[in-house]
């Protein structure tokens, strides 16, 4: 249990460090990549490339293991189908990402800057995620109405 929780904290820490060092926690830097018609900055491609250079061999090696080090099993997405909902979600996310240059990881990481605008973005993001949960609850519901309302209130 402790090992599993420490793994989470360490992984989050290194992830946050990576986002800051790569410059991705700065929306202006991300817009620099998304803005093909401006002074295009391809850095984001190298960030993804650097990450994939580790995750492709890393995940491939892990696939051979029966279970992770500190948990019972690997919790991998089982679904392989692509439906209209998924594509619509991706398009909506792209729309939001293109407006301000913030996606979830960099926005939460940038909370370290203790700025009101970052906090506003993260708060709006939480409201958006809760709105999704109210519309399409994906968690095992015990009684439909009450728990969802409770989640929305928090």
């Amino acid at each position: 249990m402790m090992a599993r929780l420490s793994t989470s904290l360490v992984s989050g820490f290194i992830f946050g460090l990576g986002l800051v060092i790569s410059g991705m926690s700065n929306p202006a830097k991300v817009i620099g990549f998304l803005d093909l018609a401006g002074a295009w900055d391809p850095t984001l491609l190298l960030v993804m490339g650097g990450a994939l250079a580790v995750t492709i061999p890393g995940f491939w090696l892990l696939k051979k293991r029966a279970r992770p080090l500190f948990a019972e099993r690997f919790e991998l997405p089982a679904r392989k189908d692509l439906d209209a909902r998924l594509v619509a979600g991706a398009a909506l996310f792209g729309l939001g990402w293109g407006i301000a240059g913030f996606c979830p990881g960099p926005a939460i990481t940038a909370l370290a800057a203790a700025r009101l605008d970052v906090a506003l973005f993260v708060a709006a993001m939480i409201v958006g995620a809760l709105a999704y949960r109210m519309l399409f609850s994906t968690q095992p519901a015990k009684g439909t109405g009450a728990p969802i309302k409770k989640a929305a209130a928090e």
């Binding site: 090992a3 599993r4 793994t7 904290l9 360490v10 992984s11 989050g12 946050g16 460090l17 990576g18 986002l19 060092i21 790569s22 926690s25 700065n26 830097k29 620099g32 803005d35 002074a39 190298l46 960030v47 993804m48 650097g50 250079a53 580790v54 995750t55 492709i56 890393g58 995940f59 892990l62 992770p68 948990a71 919790e75 997405p77 594509v87 991706a90 909506l92 996310f93 939001g96 990402w97 293109g98 407006i99 301000a100 990881g105 939460i108 990481t109 940038a110 370290a112 800057a113 970052v118 506003l120 708060a123 709006a124 993001m125 939480i126 409201v127 958006g128 995620a129 709105a131 728990p147």
Partner: protein, 140 residues
């Protein structure tokens, strides 16, 4: 100001990949930020603490970096508050509907050669580029 930074970009990317590999190796979880945060609060017993600790880790990583370099984090946002809030809402809703974001689909899903993650990643990057173009070149 926002010039190409290949060395720090690649180094940061390697750290992100390392973090995702550590989480999968230790906890068997995919390091998708929208999924980790969006799963809160979870009704599954024992499913909350690891999520919260990962998110605290993100902020701590940036905080320690600020302390070590003794420079404030560079965060430049060039849209108005109403647009910023709208964008936050859409990102929160869209990443849940689309089953993930840049980390879950873009880094982890693509690494597993998941066809749906590759398509989703291409869609959100494409739409984000189009949105940037419309907002910054067509509308002003």
């Amino acid at each position: 100001m926002e010039s190409f930074t290949p060395v720090s970009g690649t180094l940061g990317g390697v750290l992100i990949g390392l973090a995702a590999t550590i989480l999968l190796a230790g906890s068997g979880r995919i390091a998708g930020i929208s999924g980790i945060a969006g799963g809160l609060p979870s009704r599954v017993p024992g499913d909350n603490a690891w999520r919260i600790l990962f998110l605290i880790g993100l902020v701590l990583g940036a905080g320690v970096y600020q302390l070590v370099t003794s420079a404030p984090l560079e965060v430049r946002i060039d849209v108005s508050a109403p647009l910023l809030i709208t964008s936050g809402f859409i990102v929160g809703f869209g990443t849940r509907l689309g089953g993930g974001c840049t980390s879950g689909h873009g880094v982890c899903g693509v690494a597993r050669f998941s066809v749906r993650s590759i398509i989703v990643t291409l869609v959100f990057i494409g739409v984000a580029m189009l949105t940037t173009f419309v907002l910054r070149h067509l509308l002003p």
